[in-house]
Each structure stands twice: as structure tokens, then as C-alpha cells.
């Protein structure tokens, strides 16, 4: 039969030579190779103790940001919800009451802010749409869970810790992502 390509190789089926029939040389060679592998460097990373560095453009779970005084930046304008291609974001707006100036930066704030992590595709369009730098994608991943309801993240899960009262947790949640200029 005509071969379709020139890459086809005829399989050799000639009987084994005496040297090959002895088996021992071939086995010794194989065992030499496997012994060498004992001293090779292992590429494994022991995950919880060691982590691989993320790329600077990595997009993980969203974070609702605060400003330097610990006030929530979000004004519940709804641009992120509009921009979201997966329609994962919903929110409810409310007016800031007198005496709440240390909690919310603008006169309007999000009383409810939910992202459905099962719908989210981590495209980062919400971050791009936000005029107040209130939402951005962090370096953490969504942990697995047995219950679907737990994947609807509310403000409790999304809001970053307060930088004034808990600076360590704030720094940890903020991660090493380069600051965006806007």
C-alpha cells in the first residue's frame, strides 16, 4: 500500500540477538537510569506551605475596596452590574445617614452587594467599569464548597478588612497587585 506520508517507519521484527536475549544488560541499563532519577530535583511544590507566584495580571475573586480612612468606596452606581457579561452582580443602593460619614465615602452606598461566584467568569470588566476603584479582582481563588448558596458572596465575604483597625488583614487581602492609576 502506498504510504500517505514519508513519516511511516517499518517496524523491525527481527529475532533478538544473543546480547538482547540475556536480558541482564538491558535491565542493568534501565536500573542505572532509574537510580539516577533518585537524585534528580523534584519539580513538586508542596502546596499549602509553598505557593507558586501568580502572574501580575491574575484575576481572582473580587474585593470591595475601602479608602485610606477605612470608608467603603462603592457608591452603588451599578456600572459593574451593567458591564458584567455573566450578569453575576446585583446590588441595592441606600442613602447615607448623618453620622455615617466615617463608614461610607459618598452620600450613596451599597447596602447589599452580591456576586454569584458560580456565574462569574473572572473577566475583570467590573474592575474596569468601576469609576471609584471600589471593586477589583484579587489574587485569591474561590474556595470549594458543598452548598450552592455559599457561592453567592455578599458584602461580608467581599468587603476588604478595615485598614485602620486591622492593617495586617487589609494588607493580606490587598495582596501584591500593582496599584491601578485612574
Amino acid at each position: 500500500m502506498q504510504a500517505l506520508t514519508s513519516k511511516a517507519k517499518q517496524v523491525e521484527r527481527k529475532p533478538m540477538t544473543f546480547w538482547e536475549k540475556l536480558y541482564i544488560p538491558a535491565i542493568a541499563k534501565g536500573m542505572y537510569i532509574t537510580f539516577g532519577h533518585i537524585f534528580k530535583k523534584k519539580p513538586t511544590i508542596s502546596y499549602p506551605e509553598q505557593t507558586r507566584p501568580f502572574s501580575p495580571v491574575f484575576r481572582g475573586v473580587q474585593v470591595l475596596n475601602r479608602d485610606e480612612e477605612g470608608r467603603e468606596r462603592c457608591t452603588a452606581c451599578g456600572l459593574c452590574a451593567v458591564a458584567c457579561p455573566a450578569e453575576a452582580i446585583t446590588m441595592e443602593a441606600a442613602e447615607r445617614l448623618p453620622g455615617e460619614e466615617n463608614l461610607y465615602r459618598e452620600e450613596k452606598y451599597a447596602v447589599k452587594y452580591e456576586i454569584n461566584m458560580l456565574r462569574c467568569i473572572f473577566c475583570g470588566l467590573c474592575e474596569e467599569a468601576c469609576p471609584k476603584d471600589a471593586v477589583y479582582l484579587s489574587e485569591t481563588m474561590v474556595p470549594s464548597n458543598y452548598n450552592r448558596k455559599t457561592f453567592i458572596y455578599g458584602k461580608q465575604e467581599l468587603l476588604i478588612p478595615n485598614p485602620l483597625t486591622d492593617p495586617e488583614a487589609f494588607a493580606k487581602a490587598k495582596g501584591n497587585r500593582p496599584e491601578k492609576n485612574s
Binding site: 536480558y23 541482564i24 535491565i27 534501565g30 536500573m31 537510569i33 532509574t34 537510580f35 532519577h37 533518585i38 534528580k40 523534584k42 519539580p43 513538586t44 508542596s46
Partner: protein, 355 residues
Amino acid sequence: MHIFLTIDWFVIIEKAILISVIIGVSLLVAMYETYAERKVAAVIQDRHGPNRAGPFGIFQPLADGLKLFMKEEIVPNLSNKFLFILGPGVAMLTAMMTSAVVPWSGNIHAFGRDIPLQIADVNIGILYIFGVVSMGVYGVMIGGWASNNKFSLLAAIRGASQIISYELAMGLTLIAVLMLTGSLSLRTIVEQQLDNTYYVAYQPLGFLIFLVCAFAECNRTPFDLSEAESELNFGYHQEYSSMKLGFYLFAEYVNMFISSAVMATIFWGGYDIPFLNDVNFGLHHGQNLLAALEAICLFLKICIFVFFFMWVRWTVPRFRYDQLMNLGWKTLIPLAILNMLVTGFVVLYHHIGHF
């Protein structure tokens, strides 16, 4: 009353302690062999292996054992229940029994007596080992048959025929060794090698054949056809679960330990400490220290053999059945006969000086 007076109670107590220590040690070693096997497999394949249970994963065998005990114990409906339970028991029993004639060290001196560290110095030690090892076939055969499963039965038959074929070559190599030693007692064989050339120097081919046969007897990888997981669904222990499966797996590791001990004893000087005059050392530093060092030395030799077993397992792929039988009957047995004949000629020549 009369019988009780004539029994030497010291001997009974000393043997009872020795037996329990040796059984305990072989079980412990078998436990850590499972761990070592996984570690060796890992480093050969550029992995880490078990490293989560305790430092370096050294509690992994305990976790594995606990898992096996906790599993549901299933006895198939149509199996022969008695034989089904007997199978793993026989496998384990024969694996443990072999250790009775292996000399683990020289005599220790305690309570004004010389206590040999050997359970029974029978003068047919090697024959005893052969008898017990060939009974190991029954563990495989009974388990495979009682499962009432065609795959298990096929695997059991394969395993049995393999063990029987390789036992022949093994016996023939031992005949050559016995012509040199003139004794079947393992202790005598070791004592001849103390501060002398090891028998592996006189019998390199015999040792090689014995090694290959030991692999086949233990159902270790190039010859693990009886548990071929890809062809026969794990062979004779397919229907087994929980600790009955554990017994089969454990028996394999105990077998490996014991056959390493036998190989070290017959061919590599047993408990002899290499590059050291044992008798002189004993006279200068005391007999008990010597015995302890000798036991450690034998243990190290065994460890090297066990590592070799594992190293081969993760290097050489399984033989095809016809290749296995060709190797056994057409290569190893003729080689063993040749080895026997040549040894016989040489021994005879030394004996009478000329032909």
C-alpha cells in the same frame, strides 16, 4: 509431673521471647516496607511520595492499616466462606513461618547461658524453608478458588504454576551451594562464611538464578502475573476487602523480608560483619556487643536487598506469560543444571586432586 521436671523451662521462655520478637520485627518491617515502597517509587519517578502523616510521612503505614481495618468486610455470596477466610490466613502463616530457621545473629550471653538468636537450628534448615515457601502457593490457590470468580481462579492458577516452575531452578542452584557447604543447616552455612569468602564469590551464577527465582516466589514485579491488575482485575485478591486484602498484601512484604534474609544468609555471609574479624572482636569487646552488631549488619544486608526488590519493581515491566515460562524452563533450569554440574566437578577435583 515427671514431664514438667524434665523440661528445660529456660529454653521455652527464651524461645517464646525470641519468637514474639521476631514476629513483631517482621510485621514492623513489613509495615515500613509498604512505606519504603511508596517512597522508593516516588523518588524514582521524581515525586515526593507520602509526606503528610507525621514527619516525612512516617505514620503513613499506621494510617493505611487503620484504613484497611475500618473498611467493610465483604464475603461474596457464592464463595466458599471457610476457604475464603482461610486463604489470607495461610498466606500470612507461611510467610511468618519461614523466619524460624534463619539465624539472626551469633549467640548472646545472658543469665549464665549462651542463647542462640535463632528459633530452631534444625539440620535441614534449607529444606524447611523450601517446604514452607511452597506452601505459600496454597494461600494464593485457596484464595483464588474460594472467590468463585473466573479471573481470580485464572490468576491463582497462573501464580501457582509460576511458583512451581521457579522453585525447580531455585532448588537446583541450592544443590550447588550445598555441595560447597556440605550442610543444610543455615547456622553452619553462616559460620563457614564468618571471616571467610562469601559463597556469592564461588556461586555468582547461582546467586543470580536464586535472586530471579526469589522475585518469582514473592510475586514481585517482573513476575507479578498472579495479580496482574491490567489483565485479571488484581488477580486472586480481587474479591477481598478490608484486612483480608491487607493480609495478602502484608504477606507479600513479609515474604520479601524473609527471602532477603535467606539470600543474605546463604550467599552474603548472613550476620557476618564484613572487613572485621568477628571472633577477635568478640573476644575483645564482649559477646553481646558482637551479637548486636551482627544483627544490625544482617538487618542492613536485608535492607539493601529489599531496596533492590523495590528498585527492580519500579524499573522492569511485567513479563508476558510465555516469556515468563520460557525464562523459567528454557533458561534458568538449564543454567542451574550447568552450574550444578560445574560446581560438582570442581568440588570433586579439589577432593581427589585429579581425575
